[in-house]
């Protein structure tokens, strides 16, 4: 223990004698370690943000729609393969499905008008449960009720962008009339804003665009306009997010059975999107981590280089220490400790620097300040390992010096 403490003291002493050289030596480790810390933190923040965003969609969400086969020579069957009766059947028979809503949409080039103002919108015809499935909260007013559906009332709930554009975000829009495709609808509610920084295109075929441009109306209106009992797609929720994939299978099986295999169905679940997002973030983290480890390797080589030089410079010291009683192992430990101390100091400075840079990055981007402790611990141990690996060869060389030769060295 005594000797070990002495080794650490000697290590600091020899580091302090050539501060510039020590700092330059540490630089590689500092950069490498701080990169590891930053990568860890950014990965964690990224995951948190993606998760929070996906949560606004409802984590148990799932979508089922017909697969539109486009094979040459094969005549397309008409219809979407999903009818109102199918929805009823799903409600009754699919045990893992919590809520289900038929969805009909008008996605391209639809405009809403209020007095002289226009807003580009997406019309979604849905059922009463849709709000719960989609985690759609109301800013003011109310959502659809059963009577709206049954009597095909010309009412609508508007997204926050639509509210901004048509009513400047100030006027009370409730009970005011807006025009969509020359039909008037009474506004009964305004939806809360949903942020979509990360994932703009989720949902069926990647086409739930900006959720704030939505205008929601009873699905029966669109069905009446199109003179059909078909629905475009199903949006439903499972009882838990782990059940989402199985619930989807239940629905697809039921639909296939009810339509005697005339149609094939595709589906998406929020669970898949979460996994997908995680995969992307993990891949990015790995790429960044690889880059960080390159600089750690370079840092390690730097230490090895400087330790080898140090040992040549201190040949006499090694000779003397051996003459007055240092064994090979004492010399080995001394120089190994020195390499580890350099690397560890670099590591600690790197961790500090990494935290500061992470803080600046996250605060500048108004993200929550998160540090990955796993990566902090990882960085700490990696810097020890770098020290050991880069110090072992020079230390062995030092230990194997012949005392007589070393004392004579000029």
């Amino acid at each position: 223990m005594n000797r070990f403490l002495e080794c650490i003291r000697i290590a600091f002493l020899s580091m302090s004698t050539n501060k510039l050289r020590t700092t330059l030596t540490m630089l590689g480790v500092i950069i490498g370690v701080s990169s590891v810390v930053i990568v860890g933190a950014v990965g964690k923040v990224g995951k948190k943000l993606v998760f929070e965003e996906l949560e606004t969609f409802g984590l148990t969400n799932l979508w089922v729609y017909r697969q539109w086969e486009e094979k040459p020579g094969k005549v397309e069957k008409h219809g979407t393969g999903i009818t109102n009766d199918d929805i009823e059947a799903i409600r009754e028979q699919c045990s893992l499905v919590n809520l289900v809503s038929p969805c009909l949409g008008k996605w391209g080039g639809v405009w809403a008008k209020y007095k002289t103002k226009y807003a580009k919108i997406i019309v979604e015809g849905v059922d009463v449960d849709y709000a719960k499935i989609d985690n759609a909260y109301l800013e003011i007013g109310r959502f659809l009720i059963t009577d709206d559906i049954e009597y095909r009332r010309n009412i609508c709930i508007i997204g926050s962008d639509v509210y901004q554009k048509l009513f400047n975000g100030k006027e009370d829009p409730i009970n005011l009339q807006i025009y969509i495709e020359n039909k008037s609808y009474t506004v009964v509610g305004v939806l809360k804003r949903k942020d979509r920084n990360f994932i703009e295109n989720l949902g069926p075929k990647g086409s739930i665009p900006n959720a704030n441009e939505r205008v929601i109306i009873p699905y029966t209106i669109i069905q009446h306009q199109e003179n059909t009992k078909d629905v475009h797609y199903i949006q439903a929720s499972a009882y838990s997010k782990d059940m989402a994939n199985e619930a989807t299978e239940q629905i697809k099986k039921l639909l296939t059975k009810r339509h005697k295999g005339q149609y094939t169905y595709e589906s998406e679940t929020m669970q898949e999107h979460i996994e997908f997002a995680n995969t992307i973030i993990n891949i990015l983290a790995w790429i960044a981590l690889t880059a960080a480890s390159v600089s750690l390797i370079v840092g390690g080589i730097g230490i090895m280089n400087i330790m080898t030089t140090t040992i040549v410079e201190r040949t006499k010291e090694i000779g003397l220490r051996k003459a007055i009683g240092a064994g090979d192992i004492d010399i080995l430990v001394q120089f190994l400790v020195e390499a580890i101390v350099i690397s560890l100091c670099g590591g600690i400075i790197g961790i500090g620097l990494g935290i500061i840079i992470t803080f600046i990055l996250e605060v500048l981007n108004k993200y929550p300040f998160i540090i990955s402790f796993v990566y902090l611990v990882l960085a700490f141990f990696v810097s020890i390992v770098v020290g050991v690996i880069s110090g072992i060869y020079p230390a062995i060389r030092a230990a194997s010096l012949d005392p007589v030769e070393a004392l004579r060295y000029e």
Partner: protein, 225 residues
Amino acid sequence: MKPIIEIQGIHKIYSLGETRIHALSGVSLSIKRGAFISIMGPSGSGKSTLMNIIGCLTTPNSGTYLLEGENISQLPYSALPYIRNKKIGFIFQQFHLLPKLSAICNVKLPLIYAGYKFRERHLLAYEALASVGLKDRISHLPNQLSGGEQQRVAIARALVNQPVIILADEPTGNLDSNTGKEIMGIFKLLNQQGKTIILVTHEESWTAYTSRIIKLKDGKVVEDE
């Protein structure tokens, strides 16, 4: 009384590429406890090699070396540092002080390897420095000390672990004659206190201090008086 050092028919051969150099060819010596001996000889005579063997820095190719009755030539290489630490005090021509360490820290070095605790180290090192008259210089760095003072620090370092013999290799070689006399005076004093001292020197005049002169030539003892 048994002699402190007994050397019997020691040979040491160095190989330099093709050529083999017979540094020592059959040296036998016996040194009593409390002796003050000077070893002399021209360069290449083998006196350095003999010093290195006595100091356990290297082992002979053949022959026996008993230090306090212990057969050094049969010890494994890994046991030598311990012997050097406990029984030998080295003093070199170039002092070999560590430039970044204060006088007292330099003196403490052998105690670290001997496993003393911090307090004991400090106390023993202080006493050793005091015994060579450097009480007021303990925290000076080597480059803040004169050549004579540096060599006295080195002597303190050699003494601090209570060695059985002191090996001084040209200790006055880097000093002017007055300072050299000072250092020799210290050796004389140490010898009077009972220390066994072996001095390697070129200078005839220092042999006056010693009780016995061994002259080497071509790896053999040519004179022993």
